[in-house]
């Protein structure tokens, strides 16, 4: 073992959280080392998470549009082209994104240390390299950004062949005929709706009565309707007794009520666990929570003041968008730099088909917090742009205070929801009044007009 290499800042993990922490440190003139156990930088976000799932979604949508167009243009696509072309495109996008990340780190003078990090003390880290050799590094400031991986529930024998997780589903070589999805969260809903759109018979099974329970019910109702229209089924309020590969052609899922579901493949999306198993955090003076997370204060600082933790390793909201901001802010705080005002209204984007997005308070939260709420709705089919683009299955729901004056939240379902939400986010940040949406002019025809229509709906209720 060599003598320790000294850094000002050591970041463990090169996902969105670690990258932004490292870049912030480098921009502040610090000598930064970024430890990453995989060859590529970018983390789950680039290789198993956001980028691949969104690319697959986009490709699936394009393919379905294309297939629909075949009716018009009278040609046929070869069936076997489908999944391999989807996956090849995905591989290209992921590679390109990975290269871009690497280049960004080099440009900022950040040293990429390839190996697996393990704390030796609160300032010293052992890096195990692929060839089994070790390097000892130390720093006066350390950021843990080791992210998360799919949870493997005890009673589900994931074999990456028939019973897959959100990582191995990305290397399917053909589209299965049927798929059972365990879970009702973001990852489960996204993949379930993508595969249903591609013609796979999908059944989602979860313990909640509806998927994405944390979202406004108007949104999830619309999601369920679209999912069913593509042939999908949601089985809520169910407990899994047993999951088994029958050894030949089916995965059988036995529910607690005795019902047996059969499918060719299964996707298990029952949450994620933090990557702390190699870190030896007790050596750094840290104790993981009972859920295996690292606990931090509002500045992402752990009980050891010079050790910060950011991203999925500290638990929800477990979004790439928030992880990046946590990384940046943590390093600003550690270095005594002003991080700017704290993000107030974080939007939530779910890239299911249809897309859903939400910012601010829901109707129920507004009632609880403000003693009442007024709600305006605009359906995409009422808007010229919705009709022109064939995007008729959308809804924008605007939540205002009980007087119908102040904007409190926006919830959207339909194509473009994750982009459209930012108008609402800016409105909330600048505390704008509902009438501002009525009094101002929007481009015509656009989906942004839904804001005006929903605001008009509220204004109408206000007038009684």
């Amino acid at each position: 073992m060599t003598s320790p290499h000294m850094f000002d800042l050591l970041v463990i993990g090169s996902g969105p959280a670690g990258q932004k922490a490292a870049i912030q440190g480098a921009k502040a003139g610090k000598r930064v080392g970024l430890i990453e156990q995989t060859r590529e930088v970018g983390g789950a976000c680039v290789y198993q998470g956001t980028i691949p799932s969104k690319t697959l979604r986009e490709s699936a949508l394009q393919m379905v549009r294309f297939l629909r167009a075949t009716d018009v243009f009278e040609f046929r696509m070869r069936d076997d082209v489908r999944i391999s072309s989807l996956m090849t495109r995905l591989d290209r996008v992921v590679r390109a994104h990975g290269e871009f990340m690497k280049e960004q780190l080099t440009r900022n003078g950040i040293q990429h240390l390839h190996g697996r990090a393990k704390f030796l003390s609160d300032r010293e880290i052992d890096i195990q390299h692929l060839d089994g050799t070790h390097t000892n590094v130390s720093a006066s400031l350390i950021v843990i950004a080791t992210g998360s991986r799919p949870r493997v529930p005890d009673h589900v024998p994931i074999d990456h062949e028939h019973i897959l997780d959100s990582d191995s589903i990305l290397s399917l070589v053909y589209l299965p005929k049927s798929l059972t999805v365990l879970g009702g969260g973001v990852i489960a809903s996204e993949y379930a709706s993508i595969f249903a759109l591609l013609g796979v018979q999908v059944i989602m099974v979860d313990s909640a009565d509806r998927p994405l329970k944390f979202l406004d019910q108007d949104l999830t109702d619309q999601f369920c309707q679209a999912f069913e229209e593509s042939g999908g089924q949601y089985r809520g309020l169910q407990k899994i007794r047993q999951v088994q590969w029958d050894g030949f052609s089916k995965v059988t899922t036995t529910l607690d009520n005795g019902q047996i579901l059969e499918s060719e493949k299964m996707l298990v999306a029952l949450g994620r666990v933090a990557n702390i198993e190699y870190l030896n955090v007790p050596a750094a003076g840290l104790t993981p929570t009972s859920r295996g997370l690292i606990s931090v204060n509002e500045h992402c600082q752990t009980v050891m003041p010079h050790i910060y933790a950011v991203g999925d390793v500290i638990g929800p909201p477990s979004l790439a968008s928030c992880s990046m901001e946590q990384g940046r802010r943590a390093v600003c705080h550690a270095l005594g730099l002003s991080p700017g005002s704290a993000p107030e209204h974080i939007p939530m984007g779910i890239y299911s088909i249809p897309e859903m997005s939400s910012v601010g308070l829901s109707e129920q939260e507004a009632i609880a917090k403000h003693g009442g709420a007024m709600v305006g709705r605009a359906r995409f089919h009422e808007i010229a742009r919705g009709q022109i683009s064939g995007m008729t299955n959308g809804l924008l729901k605007m939540v205002a205070d009980a007087q119908g004056k102040q904007l409190l939240g926006v919830h959207i379902v339909g194509e473009g929801a994750t982009e459209l939400i930012h108008i609402g986010q800016m409105g909330l940040l600048h505390r704008i009044q509902i009438d501002s949406f009525v009094e101002n002019i929007f481009n015509f025809p656009t989906l942004a007009e839904t804001y005006r229509v929903a605001a008009l709906d509220i204004a109408k209720q206000r007038r009684g």
């Binding site: 090849t88 005929k177 052609s249």
Partner: protein, 289 residues
């Protein structure tokens, strides 16, 4: 140069141009895929397949059906009760494993049954099977879908028996029994080319064709398929040689291969794979004994 290596070189010099020419000109003369193997391959890609179709297919070939039943009853698969029907064997071994086996057994006992080299050809199939089995485990470790890895491993050396077939069929080489060292030299030189040609003639899936073409250490980085069959098969091939004792590569050398790094395997990953040695040997013996 010793007299024996002189002789070897002379023999090689005589065969090489004939074989090279044969490979260049004659995709069509390559052996056809046995009917059963071809149908099994088609069935594996059919989403509407059910076990009765596969068992009906295997039943067409008595020898094949017998082999499958023997394998399913072997200790490696420890059946709870004796397996007496093909349907039962399919349920017990799993469709993909069975389809792969049926394919390999049918190819082995068909076109590639070259008189005079039975023992050596068996050695090739043992290696191919061990590579397929290791391929599955490597894919599992990288949390990659494992289905493709088995078939890639099983077929990556298909070019070798193809060369054997060609040398035994092509005048003026036909009818002569070449020494195994001579054939091994020819394999080294031509098996990728022969395997690639055979993959085309047999219309194997693209990802498998790519693994056959690109699995060697110096070629896997040319592979583009997201299925990663080539790089997985590269390491699986090394591990199979090690497990079956067909290479004298030390465990340490194996751990330090570039492909191990490129798969981002840490020492504990390799330890876990090396620990599978006995189980893989056992499976291979049960399959092919």
């Amino acid at each position: 140069m010793s007299p024996s290596s002189c002789l070897l070189e002379e023999e090689l010099a005589a065969i090489r141009p004939v074989l090279a020419n044969r490979l260049k000109t004659t995709g069509v003369d390559l052996p056809l895929l046995p009917v059963v193997a071809h149908q099994v391959l088609l069935l594996s890609g059919d989403p509407n397949v059910d076990s009765s179709k596969l068992s009906a297919l295997i039943q067409q070939d008595q020898a094949l059906a017998g082999q499958i039943l023997r394998i399913a009853n072997s200790p490696a698969y420890a059946p709870r009760s004796p397996i007496v029907s093909l349907q039962q064997a399919i349920a017990w071994l799993g469709f993909n494993m069975l389809a792969g086996l049926a394919f390999s057994v049918s190819v082995q006992s068909g076109v590639f049954k070259t008189a005079g080299y039975e023992k050596e050809v068996r050695g090739l199939w043992r290696h191919a099977l061990a590579t397929g089995l290791y391929g599955k485990e490597i894919a599992r470790r990288i949390r990659h879908n494992v289905e493709n890895a088995f078939l890639c491993g099983l077929l990556h050396l298909i070019g070798k028996p193809a060369i054997l077939h060609l040398t035994s069929q092509t005048p003026p080489l036909a009818g002569r029994l070449h020494s195994w060292p001579v054939l091994e030299k020819l394999f080294d030189e031509f098996h990728l080319q022969a395997g690639t040609a055979l993959g085309e003639v047999w219309k194997l899936p693209d990802s498998v064709k790519e693994a056959i073409r690109c699995f060697p250490d110096h070629l896997y980085d040319q592979a583009t398929s997201p299925a990663k069959g080539a790089i997985i098969t590269c390491l699986a091939d090394h591990l199979a040689s090690h497990a079956l004792g067909t290479s004298d590569v030390e465990e340490e050398t194996l751990r330090n291969l570039q492909v191990v790094r490129d798969l981002n395997f840490y020492p504990e990953d390799m330890t876990a794979l090396l620990e599978l040695k006995e189980s893989i040997q056992h499976h291979v013996e049960c399959f092919l004994s």
